[in-house]
Amino acid sequence: MILINCPYCGEREQSEFSNGGEAHVARPKNPEALSDKDWGQYVFYRSNPKGIFYERWVHTHGCRKWFNAVRDTSTDTFLKIYKLDDNRPDISEFKSTLKSPSGEPSVGSGNFAVKK
């Protein structure tokens, strides 16, 4: 079970929330000038890191407000939760314990990841 700390309601079980995918994806400023390739990037491509990931969540079965989070996708640890109008925290704030891009974190990404 994972708890998510809603900035408005406090800690609640993850199943109360819905994930909104990658955060800070800006709509292109000059759509008419965009090539098909660039449009494709905007519509279909999102980063998918094993490690530190910036993402959006909404408290669907609660206050129904959106917020951002930084999570380590190799352990599911929430590293930071911040409001939509807060600045994007710099990646240097967070440490990743991954030994290689595809490797396993020191706590392991198997069944014990969340037990620590």
Binding site: M1, I2, E13, Q14, S15, S18, N19, G21, S35, D36, K37, W39, G40, Q41, V43, F44, Y45, R46, S47, N48, P49, K50, F53, E55, T73, S74, T75, D76, S100, P101, S102, G103, S109, G110, N111, A113, V114
Partner: protein, 416 residues
Amino acid sequence: MRKKYSFLSLIKNAFTNNENWEKMWESPDPKKGYDVIIVGGGGHGLGTAYYLAKEHGIKNIAVIEKGWLGGGNTGRNTTIIRSNYLWNESAHLYDHSVKLWENLSEELNFNMMFSQRGVMNLAHNEHDIKEMKRRISANRLNGLDTQWLDTKEIEELVPIMNTKNLRYPVLGAAFQPRGGVARHDAVAWGYALRSNEMGVDIIQNCEVKDIQTDNHKVKGVNTSKGFIKADKVAVVASGHTSVLAQTAGVKLPLQSRPLQALVSEPIKPVINTVVMSNAVHAYVSQSDKGELVIGAGTDGYNSFTQRGGYDVIEETVRAIVELYPIFGKMKMLRQWGGIVDICPDASPIISKCDVKGLYFNCGWGTGGFKATPGSANVFAHTVANDQPHKINEAFNLERFSDGRLIDEHGAAAVAH
């Protein structure tokens, strides 16, 4: 074929306590370089090595696996095999695979335990009925054996199913009799055995850390056992493919998520087909050992923790118990997760990319086991000839900018 298995060899080895079986494949140290390096020792990767060696005469190949063969989604899936996809491109690809499955045990002289017990997709509402009937018609035009069953026919095939007394009654089903299940490890082991016989190096416990390129051309891979040179690198690493692609500067439109399955204690045979339901999200089949094999859904967020959320199991088990009240008191023995690579149009990518000599076979998401032989077969063609086979031509990367998506959400979303 060096290691030929037969009824006789089984009896002979039984007398010596099964201690004298020959090793199935060697575990060599990697050479300095190869013509082709395949990253990922799942069914798709090992199959690719097999068809490269057998059909394209390329033998200087290494399959590099960070763990053990089949330890990824190949060994974690619920083994449903079918080809009743909506679009022509998918029907051709998946049925190419089903046809190969039909002969695979004989071709590899290794028992795939392929059982064509039929696959049923339940309809619970008007929309399901319309969508499925449309898909059945499309399947028929592609020569597939999908048919519509009414509730009475479903009850005859699966007498334990509660079709009426539930929140979303069962109104009918699409049924593909040629569908079924197979033994998950067998396909990895069979391909490993026969490709190793043809000279393919199988290197386990060796992680590829990054893909080295020079001027948009692939040079080789850095691994936990050092740098290995290669003219061509084929990445078939399911949930980790996009992470590896990134090391070569290639972005793939994939999102990685845990997908779960669970099995029950073994019981006598009660269900002799595979039953899936998209609407209530539950599917079940019974293994030869007697366990119920139940598939749950993906977590609602990206993750590489091979585990999955508890609420996801709860949702599935709730639907299973409603559909099959007889399972209400059964105990579940094991639960696990695998990391699946989900593509925006729920179809795979079997493609070259901007880097010369670098190939990807990924995006199979929740449903690539069924495609193992077919995918490996056309991917080997793509790697050997540096151009796609006619069957996988449409499954390229360009479709995410030219808009020729192959949207299989209806056929693939929950059903695996």
